[in-house]
């Protein structure tokens, strides 16, 4: 196995092991996501936004729990200045980024696995028409979201800034994801049109562009 892949796996393994031991982040993030779904379900439920409302509600839940998740995975590196030690090893900054991104994605996947069924349930969203499409669209969205989230979390964690800054940075940039995925799913589930064309293009383009840009710029924002 090439050295880069080994280092990558080491780092991801380290993050997941820490998470498994402390269970700090995962618990918080899942509960937060669930609460958001419940609150919005209570507020909007009963006719106002049944069915497709779930998509947007899920996105809101992903956005807030995602931000918390990204903050906490970076905080692990900062707590005892372990990041400085990592930066002294022969690991490239790009590998560090990919490893952090993968750890974040793993955590977000766990969150999604819990709150997506909850959202679908509370909003009586009938997925039977195209469950795979739904899953794929949301997955593409979360990947893009994590791509910029990982970069921005590194930026914010290295400065003594007040909370809420990470959310403020990520949300506007992530809006195309929210719009594209919700519109795609509306066309699929309400109008029965097959998924494709521009909506999908936006999601894929977003992921490709921001994965690359964040990967390239990660080393600029890292500060021990």
């Amino acid at each position: 196995m090439p050295l880069v892949a080994q280092q990558f796996l080491l780092l991801v393994g380290k993050d997941l092991k820490i998470e498994a031991r402390s269970r700090q982040t995962i618990g918080l993030v899942i509960v937060l996501g669930l609460l958001i779904v419940v609150v919005l379900g209570l507020g909007l439920g009963g006719g106002a936004a049944v069915g497709l409302g779930a998509t947007v509600v899920l996105w809101v839940a992903y956005l807030f729990s995602g931000v918390l998740c990204f903050e906490k995975t970076m905080a692990v590196e900062r707590s005892e200045s372990a990041l400085a030690a990592l930066m002294l090893t022969p690991i490239s900054r790009g590998t560090l980024y990919l490893a952090k991104l993968t750890s974040n994605l793993a955590l977000m996947a766990a969150v999604a696995l819990v709150i997506t069924p909850a959202g679908v349930l509370f909003f009586s969203f009938d997925l039977s028409a195209a469950p795979v499409t739904f899953g794929a669209v949301m997955a593409l969205g979360i990947v893009g979201f994590a791509a910029i989230g990982t970069l921005f979390a590194a930026v914010v964690s290295s400065t003594r800034l007040q909370g809420g800054l990470l959310a403020m940075m990520i949300f506007p940039v992530a809006l195309p994801l929210v719009i594209a995925s919700t519109q795609l799913l509306i066309h699929q589930f309400r109008d029965g049109l097959p998924v494709g064309g521009m909506g999908l293009g936006v999601l894929v383009a977003f992921d490709a562009i921001f994965l690359t840009a964040s990967w390239l710029m990660f080393e600029l924002v890292l500060e021990p």
Binding site: Q6, Q7, E80, L86, L88, I91
Partner: protein, 241 residues
Amino acid sequence: MRAAGLGKMMDERSVLISIDLSIAAGEFVAILGTNGAGKTTLLKILATLMPPTAGWLQLFGLDVPRQAAQARARLGLIGHQSMLYRDLTARENLELFARLYGVENPRRRAEELLSIVGMIERADDAVKTFSRGMCQRVSIARALVHEPDLVLADEPFAGLDVPGAAAVERLLSDLHAAGKTIVMVNHDVLQSLRLADRVIVLSAGTIAIDQPARIADAPGILAELAGTDRRLDLMGERQCH
């Protein structure tokens, strides 16, 4: 290691001004100075973690930052914070760093180092259960995992009790005896004079004193350190870290 004209501006402050430094292999250098004199900044620059805004730096004949990656492979850093993952065990931490550095037989190296620093009985306990002194010892092990030639230590005795400090002193002396180059930032003047070959005093970003420890003028150094306290106002506000 050689450095010339090193300067560092941070937040519109001149933290370091025109530092010229030349350290030979195997030397044990102690850097003293009051808070705000620029010691930690200088050490970070020497560790290649921070680029200087002026001047150049050569480590082991390698140009930093161009060949920084190669230089990093031969240096180890000990800081105020342990730079360990609190939820992992001491052994797991050391094995992780050993593997990242590409050390042969990481398992054995971790055991070896844990024995050297006297933490082998607690090898499989999570770092968050350790006292500060124990953390510091594992941190030293972490810094040595790839057998660096240069060890940089930023106030390694901070927050340690007497036995903890004694243990660290012993470790540093052993490293020195083994031929490693050590650059240590410290507050305790007499301790530094005892441990080090050479003493440098930083004052307001410049080198005020640079003397071999044997002939160093201890009262003079103390006066220098005491004197600069008054001049801290001129440096502007120092951020609380």
